[in-house]
Symmetry: C2
Amino acid sequence: VSYVLDGKPAVTPTLHWREGNHVYWHGSSASRAIRKSDGLDVCLAVTLMDGLVLARSAFHHSANYRSVVIYGRAVKIEDPELKVQKLRNFVDNILPGRWDGLRPMNEQEIKATTVLSLPIEEASAKIRDGGPNDDDEDYALPIWAGVIPLRTVTGPVQDDPRNLPDVARPRHVAEYKIK
Amino acid sequence: VSYVLDGKPAVTPTLHWREGNHVYWHGSSASRAIRKSDGLDVCLAVTLMDGLVLARSAFHHSANYRSVVIYGRAVKIEDPELKVQKLRNFVDNILPGRWDGLRPMNEQEIKATTVLSLPIEEASAKIRDGGPNDDDEDYALPIWAGVIPLRTVTGPVQDDPRNLPDVARPRHVAEYKIK
């Protein structure tokens, strides 16, 4: 999330989630990034790198990616119940069913957490996919071209050593898949 | 890279590279993102996600990550020879030795490409690592906690079907490793 701080651009990396025509993110109510975004213009950018595209000329080297940039005014969720509902959606969106098994949020935690929403009204989505696009005459050159695909994967799950002995790894963890 | 456009924050995803105390990125000389960054305040942010941290309360859920945010004024590389040298460093930084085997850049390509530099003077680096940090009393709860590690990997290399038949896959591709 990018915002303007004293006339200069600033970025704070964060997780986000989408519900219908809005994206949401959260943070500490005390944080500068949250205070400087609430009610103000922000830009939320998400990029996934899918590969390195190696062409026959430096100029046509590229990357495969999927990218979304959303522009608009961030608005704080004021209602505490709605805020908790949104945070529940955040957790369950990543790990379906996790929220119900957790120790419930207490009032202090709810107060300390701000959820911001941004309508998806002005946005730019870009995708680059496929192999290199070289200049016509360069295809005659004896230069290797192609793609090195990149993707994000999960590693072996790490159980907290302080888990109680009879607590099994839940299905939403064992079966977690990157969307 | 984030910049200010008509008083509002904007973000353009891009690749970057580092040389000593500067970071660099490039783009089309005609692009808005480049024109609105040259000589102006920008914010360059890089984030690597290392894992999902699942705690016993929603509040202590977190992510493992490495993040750098650099603030400063972007400056265009004016000298064409220096510009090409920088682009060479960009390519060879990702794929050591690739540049020398490519069709050389021509004048039109050099003109159409802008390289911006940003000194690493004002920056914020953050790392979150390890397992969940729960409230003391929550460790007594029968809730599974732990970490789902995430990492970026390469997939099988894809040869361009238009490669000439006697062109072998070079070592910098076959042995490519994510840094």
